[in-house]
Symmetry: C2
Subunit: 225 residues, 2 copies
Amino acid sequence: MKAVCLLSGGLDSATCLAWARQQGFEVYALSFDYGQRHRVELSAATRIAEALGAAAHRTAKIDLRVFGHSALTDDIDVPKGRDEAAMSADIPVTYVPARNTIFLSFALAWAEVLEADAIVIGVNALDYSGYPDCRPEFIEAFQTMANLATKTGVEGRTKVKIHTPLLKLSKADIVRLGAELNVPFGITHSCYDPDLTTGHPCGQCDSCILRARGFREAGVVDPTA
Amino acid sequence: MKAVCLLSGGLDSATCLAWARQQGFEVYALSFDYGQRHRVELSAATRIAEALGAAAHRTAKIDLRVFGHSALTDDIDVPKGRDEAAMSADIPVTYVPARNTIFLSFALAWAEVLEADAIVIGVNALDYSGYPDCRPEFIEAFQTMANLATKTGVEGRTKVKIHTPLLKLSKADIVRLGAELNVPFGITHSCYDPDLTTGHPCGQCDSCILRARGFREAGVVDPTA
């Protein structure tokens, strides 16, 4: 059994990779170099893939800056120090247009070459208030499309299933699951705006705030804090 | 009305662009630099976008070679001199895994930023014997997924429609339509394996053979022949 697992280098995708390994999948980890303002998360992805025993790890270069429109790839400031009401009030400026559609499309290409049975993606409940492409109905529609898109799917040889093990979990639940699966939290990276010299998280962006709260609620110490 | 139109630089996508202009769309042409073995088609795309009055033309760099498995991006030989039975007997080696899924995903990203109403893609009947991601059921499933993927789709502000004006046309029909729409055939490029010095088509690959037959059947002279 082979699975392509999307791996950003963060807590969520590292937990997905560990989950896929526990399920017995041979895991092919896929990261993207999409013009992020920092490379800290790509080097975290490389370390995580190795630590968790991925069969292979590839990084696909794509240029999402060609369409503009995101704080992760543009020069818009990453918002800091927001409470949850502010975070969920609207679609975050860190939204990248059609990002999960693009990422899953690449995963599908690799899955087809590998004749893989599964794609694993770490979308979760906290995200899908703000990101339309994190909702279960999106994932289901992508899976339907995916099995019409490939020769292996159409011939019925290998139908691909999209697994979303974190879909209904809170951040605290993800921390608990990661702890059970021995995810090396110390080498994961969640921050949108790290110190580019040291790689240390800012502690103030939405991602840092949600991570800190997740660890606190799960009663687990975050080794990166 | 805005449309993102996928533009490879070939006869089919040039005809799609001309069709979209005739329908009254402001056209945003999108090409891909995906590690093709030759750049002849990318320079054809640039000339076509300008000649047909696209509002903008972008080329997104993506690396499909990371997954291997195609004569268009690998070092497998492009088949030459095949008859139609041989062409349609199996999925061609020029097949790129999940290519249209990836291309449409990028088109969707740009459509979201532009709040475009439409995406135009030149899939057609001749292709969909061999390429699963050229079939109408694939296109419909992609459109359903696309409107769940984006904030404009979910909010109902701009539902995107995927237009496939060539879907049921033979190559001769496409040539006739292109002639009606004054497509500058002389600057289109269809060959999988052109002379890299002159840019001239090989005349022997599947794409050259189908193009020649299309012009012949339509009774139109191909200025590139």
